[in-house]
Symmetry: C2
Subunit: 337 residues, 2 copies
């Protein structure tokens, strides 16, 4: 089932769940699979609501088990189409699947562009699938903070596989995609993607490359380019060598190979005790992010919010430098050490 306000309808309802901040109640209902409760929790997370710590605490016992798959690539490369096919494949295995389509769109305009989402309608009436678009609106720590919390909500709701799809191939997208157990990077012929992948640091985060639109001219060249780059990459003896898979997602061709490559990577992670290690690293980044958000708020409130603007004016005038100014600010917040 899809969420109200995204692919579904019913933006409000009689139960008052849309405005509810009754966290224990929402979590209990999400646990029972109530899609409106899940939707409400994700909205609270996305908005950076004050109830976030309470939500996280209530969900903690049910988290850490789902398989997290990240998917990124340039616009037009076919991410939504492949996501759709992966959902179908995992549903075929009897697994409950969550999809977070993350759009690092403007913090100002506040709202994801949902055009591509329409294709996901294939699964709109499947109660074993949750689909949700997220933007970074309002969330202080940005998507890198909001996304793991939204993943927790989907885990809490019983999703065994969570697909996180990010739009674009910038640093923010790479960061979000790399939160996964397995990160897929999609390329397509003739988009200059291979070079872009290197520039954006994608080579380091990709576990599986999918050369989509493999029936088009130039697909072989793209395949060779990326294989060449992988061959050139420095890799220790015990390190994973990224897989490269060809697909034509729009014809459901190669989807089995993608699923197999993901499974192979997951098996490798388990064998090498890397699954747990990755999750601890992910949790560390998450904790650090949240802590920095808190400290940032503290910096902003030094001398009732007057300190930073005053120091900035001094820096702009060349009367002090930004390091000296920062040191003053830090001393006010964290006097010791």
């Amino acid at each position: 089932m899809t969420f109200p306000g995204t692919a579904g309808g019913a933006a409000s309802n009689g139960s008052g769940i849309r405005r509810s901040r009754d966290v224990p109640g929402l979590v209990a209902r999400a646990r029972e699979g109530d899609p409106r409760a899940v939707a409400r929790l994700v909205s609270l997370v996305e908005d950076g609501d004050d109830s976030l710590p309470e939500i996280a605490a209530a969900l903690a016992p049910y988290t850490g088990q789902a398989q997290l798959i990240g998917l990124t690539g340039s616009p037009g490369v076919g991410k939504s189409t492949l996501t759709n096919e992966l959902v179908r494949a995992y549903r075929g295995q009897g697994l409950r699947v969550g999809v977070l389509a993350v759009d690092p769109s403007s913090p100002f305009t506040g709202g994801a562009i949902l055009g591509d989402r329409v294709r996901m309608q294939d699964h709109a009436i499947d109660p074993g699938v949750y689909i949700r678009s997220m933007s970074s609106r309002g969330h202080l720590g940005g998507l890198s903070a909001a996304t793991p919390q939204a993943v927790r909500v989907l885990e809490g709701a019983g999703c065994e596989v969570v697909l996180v799809e990010t739009v674009g191939v910038g640093q923010a997208e790479v960061e979000v995609a790399s939160l996964a157990d397995t990160t897929l990077v999609m390329l397509a012929p003739g988009m200059g993607d291979a070079i872009q992948a290197v520039k954006a640091g994608i080579l380091e985060v990709a576990d599986v490359f999918v050369v989509n639109k493999a029936d088009r001219d130039g697909a072989d060249a793209t395949y060779r380019d990326i294989q060449g780059m992988i061959a050139l990459g420095e890799r220790g003896p015990g390190e994973w060598r990224p897989q490269v898979v060809r697909a034509v997602a729009s014809q459901a061709t190669g989807v089995d190979d993608v699923v197999a490559a993901i499974a192979k990577h997951r098996a490798w992670l388990t064998e090498h005790d890397e699954l747990q290690a990755r999750r601890v690293r992910r949790a560390a980044a998450e904790v650090e992010n949240i802590a920095l958000g808190t400290l940032r708020a503290k910096l902003g409130s030094v001398r009732h919010g007057d300190a930073l603007p005053a120091l900035a004016a001094e820096v702009a005038a060349g009367r002090t430098d930004p390091y000296a100014a920062a040191a003053q600010l830090v001393a006010a917040v964290a006097p010791s050490a």
Copy 2:
């Protein structure tokens, strides 16, 4: 003149300047226009060297005067070509010009891809031009921290105009480009750039749009698209309305219009007391960034570095949640307030 190690040659020399951390000496020589001293200072900044605070303090009196122009756009849109032409135009006005070509490439591979730089060779023997590529290698605060420091170095070296060119249109690029007094966003026909611009939040940071390759099919449509988006944007009565300029940078066509649009925006900033306000906001972001870097280091060293990994393991196991863990960490660093 270009720097050793980038477009020039002479990666090492007899004077020992390459390894020097004699900050007062380097700054004095940079002030006299010694390109090797400038190069060394930018390298120290880029590497996040321990001498950064000292460098910033020594440069502070000479900063805050240069005109800062940001330039961003998708790969292949013609940024380097336009930058080259803008350098020529400002040199023609007798101004000293610095160029920072910022590549948010991998923090791991550590090194900008310099292909495009070759075109800048036009100015390789002009002593009034400094050209430098930067990557985010090593710098804790990332490019948003390193770039303003590098700008300071170029200001200190007497540059009256500093062009900051960023590769790509992701969030990181927008952030870097928006550090400028005037931000140019380049589009080209048929690249889906207009939609991308909206997604990346570029509409909010662009002061001037340049529709490059304006002699190609689809240029009029791109021009209309972006004009339409500007018309739709919410804007207060005293706010700047982004200009849209057509150009064919490879033929030096429309460059005068770009220069005129930049001048018009600068005049507007001055009239509305916005130039100073922007610089104070920029300084505030800079100070905050540096302070957060310091606090992040403090978070990482709680209990000699053991606290964060231990808390992360608890979170990964579902025994605590990331907010509770973060609160513990923050309490250790900033006990008060």
